[in-house]
Symmetry: C2
Subunit: 342 residues, 2 copies
């Protein structure tokens, strides 16, 4: 394993010059630079990141924490984060919170603090006061995606507004009996996201002077199969099934469409369905939705982070509250249509 010393000898210069040349720093003669580069290449030299980290205090590595990896929204965000980081020469260390409270504690109080990362991007994970304080003490900025973080920077769509927008789209089409399938209470308690989307739905219904029947609200686990089950229940009601359903995610929208089909209902003739996300398969299902562009959201968070890390005065404001709103526009496809009385 060849070190910087060996390269220096080979090139006939000091290790200081090798370091400067290889890192593209100024104050190196073209000749020295060429010699160093040739020697490094010939010897197959790659600088040890731990030695560099120890000397500079910078790891060139970002920690990413998320609650799930195997769900579309999270995996796509992760992909956006990863590809942007690698473009900039950064590594990504992954922490999945699925292991419960004790794992979470270890991640926040041990893994994230052992000076292995320069900063943290938290997706749908809301650090509490103590967790945030630890990070700030270690001078680690954190950027959240998916909801506002108290005392730190974050990037997220306006969930309440999205609920209003989806509902108003259905209202404008003449629907009055509108149901909603939200997330399971507690499943996302980090930010009570489903609540905000549900609140938006209620607000829009109230503003239109419409009743929200209890039987028109259901919750599920954000999966296709979970939503299928509750949608079938809702649509099968002989007395007052809704004529339109707003789902808090596209995957739940797919389940709802499949449930409708299996009941012999036609979408959108008999029942309109709208989701949130703009999933890879939404076009295939012709699902009207509110677009989240998770890949771009991940990319944006990385750009915010890198800018922060390049700020010489970062120390003075490691973590400050600052929420950046992510636009979430309506995408109309074939699953919603004018209500026609049956």
């Amino acid at each position: 394993m060849v070190g910087i010393e060996e390269v220096a000898e080979h090139a006939g210069v000091s290790t200081a010059t090798v370091s400067r040349a290889l890192r593209g720093k100024a104050h190196v003669s073209p000749k020295a630079r060429a010699k160093v580069e040739a020697a490094a290449k010939e010897l197959g030299y790659v600088a040890s990141s731990s030695a560099a980290t120890l000397a500079t205090g910078r790891t060139q590595n970002i920690g990413v924490v998320l609650p799930y990896i195997d769900r579309w929204f999270f995996s796509v965000i992760l992909e956006g984060i990863e590809s942007t980081l690698i473009e900039h020469g950064y590594d990504l260390t992954l922490y999945n919170m699925s292991g419960g409270q004790s794992q979470r504690d270890r991640i926040f109080n041990e893994f994230l603090l052992r000076k292995r990362v320069d900063g943290v991007i938290a997706v749908a994970v809301n650090p509490n006061e103590a967790e945030l304080e630890n990070l700030t003490r270690m001078k680690k900025p954190i950027i959240g995606i998916g909801g506002p973080i108290k005392g730190a920077r974050s990037l997220s769509m306006d969930d309440r507004a999205a609920g209003v927008l989806a509902t108003e789209h259905l209202l404008t089409l003449g629907h009055t009996r509108i149901g909603m399938i939200g997330g399971e209470p507690g499943a996302d308690r980090e930010f009570n996201q489903p609540d905000l989307r549900f609140i938006g739905y209620q607000q829009a219904m109230n503003a239109a002077g419409l009743e929200v029947k209890p039987s028109w609200s259901a919750s599920s686990d954000y999966t296709i199969q979970g939503a299928y089950k509750v949608a079938k229940q809702m649509l099968g009601d002989p007395k007052d099934a809704p004529t339109a359903i707003f789902c808090a995610s596209d995957e739940m929208g797919f389940g709802t469409i499949m449930a409708a089909k299996d009941l012999g209902l036609e979408v959108p003739k008999d029942i309109s369905v709208i989701g949130i996300d703009d999933h890879d398969m939404s076009d295939f299902f012709a699902l009207t939705t509110i677009s989240q562009h998770p890949r771009e959201q991940g990319k944006k968070a990385v750009e915010m982070m890198l800018q922060l890390l390049n700020d010489a005065k970062l120390q003075e404001h490691v973590n400050v509250e600052e929420t950046t709103e992510w636009p979430a526009p309506l995408v109309v496809r074939g699953s919603t249509a004018k209500h026609v009385g049956r």
Copy 2:
């Protein structure tokens, strides 16, 4: 940011004792250990991983490379790897190969070599000779999942045998007109997996003395929507549509089932469908499949890796060819049934 020195002072011992006590090493008196632990806790001390790495040569970090993150199979393997690593105090650095050849080169020749990882787990990524040589030179073991790696350890199911098994299941049910939807040629050329599954299918058909009509073979991109399209084509053939279809992945199986439904065909009465994977949604679709247990596969790969890293004589056999077969049993659900002539 408190260092080991400060803890030593606070506890009234040397830094050597602090290090030994905190790492649970022997030869520390209970009294000293207690003092150190108290001091560390009080000061909120967490050892710097880069300093520890520089001193020991061990990073406690594993690099994971994969071609996609946002596909079920890969995201679940990743989850299995992550949760097992964290249990053992290891970090996971993620590399996604989706960025094309130049990104791949950077990952293999730069990122993976800068002494940031102790080893590499490669999922459906097959390093070439030069890439493997680099890793071996840096004493980094690599373990592959998803196919045999020439010159290194790997863990994978027998894809050819799975093709035979799936086809024989359909043959036993009396089907003779059996189609197959495989992966797109080139999409997985790392291991030509789809080829092996297709070869198994052909072998089983030949062994049964049955013809494999060209129109019964199609390929797709492993997605639901991709398979939907080609399945509709295959099933819509007025002259000789197959009575059963073997799909190289469960997601393609879902697409095939949806295509059949939309054509008014009943599964399994009119058409049998079998997949490979045992996807989270396979139960929901009642899809018969060959189970891969990706989560457990990821876990197993980590266990193999950690055992390797604890082997004092690892240096002598950093990378040697050794393929471990992963069992892939048949799981019969409701999408396959006895063929009844129409």
